[in-house]
Amino acid sequence: MIFNYIGNYSLIISVIISLTIFFLSISNLQKINIQKKINLNKLNFFQFFFVLVSFFSLVVLFVLSEFSNITVFNNSHTTKPLFYKISGTWGNHEGSLLLWLLILTLCLFIYYLSSKSRPVKERLLTLIFQEVIIIGFLIFLIKTSNPFNQIFPIPKEGLGLNPILQDPILAIHPPVLYLGYVSTSIIFSSSLASLVQGNINSLWAKHIKKWIFASWIFLTVGILLGSIWAYYELGWGGFWFWDPVENISLMPWLSLTALLHCILVLEKRSLLSSWTIILSISTFTLSVCGTFLVRSGILNSVHTFANDPERGLFILIFLFILVLLSLIIYFLFEKNLKTNNYKFNLFTKESSILINNWFVMYFLSVILIGTIYPIFLEVLSDQKISVGPPFFNKLLIPFLIPFLIFMSIGPNLKWIKNKNFGNKIQLLIFFILNLTMSFFIFNMFGTITLTSTILLAASFYLFFITFKDLIKKDYKNISQAISHFGFSLLILSILMNSILSKEIIANLKVGEEIKFMESTIKFKKVENSSRSNFKSLVGFFEINSKDNKKFLFKPEIRIYNQPQVITSEADIKTNFFKDKFFVINLVKGEDYFNIRYQEKPLMIWIWLSTILIAIGGSVSFLKRYEK
């Protein structure tokens, strides 16, 4: 119905406006006309506005269950709750691309408004580069992934959305994540524009810093939401699987983290300008690369969207053109950069940031190579191998140890030169205490290796040092203190969690019981019931711990009819010390159930510490003082 046409034509209007902005900006580059500059603000707004109208139309079509629209037909159902009808808008390939575009145009609009302090030509060039990206995505959307294609005759019912995807966290995961990815495009465009104009300096760094931080915060939270969802919904208590799609979301984050540190050096010391540009290019490239890899069907993963090589080809070519252009621009205008053969003094903040970048880039390369190597091997030699968690663990964990130690020392060093490397003794005492403590901990558990002991020691070391920094109440560095402390808590929680988690997997019939460590698990009964779109089977389990405390767990099995899917809903009891995680599964053709019970210490701290990292970043926006 009418919203199909509104949606479709709004997009076309948007393309026209985008092209207008593009050509107007180019012509403005040659002759500056103040009159036309004001128009650019309005044009940016309307470019965003019409994409918004289009997006809104799609939402309306989903809410009204208008199955004449193919996208709605493929991904929705009349019995879906309203909230999930709305979030279903971006839960598919076409809709999520429209969301990309929405945020892309919004970012540009905000950028142009907030960049008045920048030279005119730089702003125009940013606009031009950004428009190339926007027009590319618009064409991609309209030509290959149009959400407003219609189907006739109109079906009475839709094909429904996978019930696993009907979850509040998963509903907001894409928008938050895309806010992170898409805003890296502004960083990209602004970097190239500033490079061409020869403006890569401390002032530009200060200006773009806001975008880098904002982008980074959204990416952190976006990735966190994905992990939380996986933990609560995917059944087995894991939160990171080194799945290709997860890796792809992590890579821009790593690049952005390196960039975030670099921009500080650029701002305070006007150094590392060429490396900053390279990082800006790589961050955005990785974001679009992620889009390519997830939607093209080239990867084998649980997370991938519908596989369509034609779309993959388009994104690949688009990505290729973007990177090629940016490389050409970089090499052409690199002479504009004020490079000097400045030698960094060893114990300074800027050299620790250099070391940080070195390690982060190494982590990034491990993940990148691990993820795309199987593709290359298959194309070049027709052999298929798998690269999974063991690979990443072996290559990342040993390097994590020096990284944590550098991270403990680095942030406390001063810029330019460290006059007194005082407190050396305190640091040393800290470290020895840590080593002893870790040794004791491992002795008690009777497990594990030298690597793990030293890793734990390094994590504790970082933890104590960052905690000390946090309570020192140094407001000048509070955002750094919070984020670094959050990071140390994250590493520590993940480490302790992986060492101390215990689980039991067994097959039980109703009435049976099984021993687990010093507790007994009793399978009391099963309750059947019927809900709006699924049948529910709840298992009642009682766990008697050794101090006679009883815990009742009610994990559920859901049998959906549209589409025909069986899901397990875990019963998770959380507190600040540990999570107790209970799942049951049907076993085909048998009268017993497969149960899994896990005790996972410090689980909630993994989430809280990541939020803390993001909070630290946000606090940087509230800074009232400048150094």
Binding site: L234, G235, W236, G238, D243, N300, S301, V302, H303, Y342, K343, F344, N345, L346, S351, L354, I355, W358, M361, Y362, S365, V366, I369, G370, Y373, L377, S381, Q383, K384, I385, S386, V387, G388, P389, P390, F391, L395, F399, L433, M437, I441, M444, F445, G446, F464, M496, L500, K502, E503, I504, I505, M517, S568, F577, K578, N585, V587, K588, P601, L602
Partner: protein, 123 residues
């Protein structure tokens, strides 16, 4: 002194998680499950997958463990049957020199670049 008190408190907090485990076999079993891929649900390990094939594979792993096969032998067995793809841990052979070597090379390269930038080496 304050520091030592503080450290002790943290240590005691973390030691509240201590529990002794006799689940050695379980751990090895689960470790192997997490390392093998499911052919039906190809994005998951047989530990995560709920497919029939994963269940059968888990049974075979348990049988082999009970019969005394070591972890390495079990991986070799499955790779023999289904190809190297079935294991998440890539081998170190001619096919994977670049896989394992490139990241380390990049690390060393980064180190070299950093050394040049640092005022450590005096010309």
């Amino acid at each position: 002194m304050k520091i030592i008190n503080f450290l002790l408190i943290i240590f005691l907090y973390f030691s509240s998680f201590v529990s002794f485990s006799n689940e050695k076999n379980f751990d090895l079993e689960n470790k192997i499950f997490k390392n093998l891929r499911c052919i039906i649900c190809q994005g998951q390990s047989i530990y995560d997958s709920q497919s029939d094939f994963a269940e059968s594979m888990k049974l075979v792993v348990k049988q082999k463990l009970d019969s005394g096969m070591s972890e390495e032998e079990i991986y070799i067995f499955f790779k023999n049957q289904y190809g190297e793809w079935i294991s998440y841990d890539p081998e170190f052979n001619t096919k994977t020199y670049f896989l394992w070597g490139l990241p380390v090379l990049i690390f060393l390269l980064g180190g070299a670049i950093i050394l040049r930038k640092l005022a450590v080496l005096k010309n």
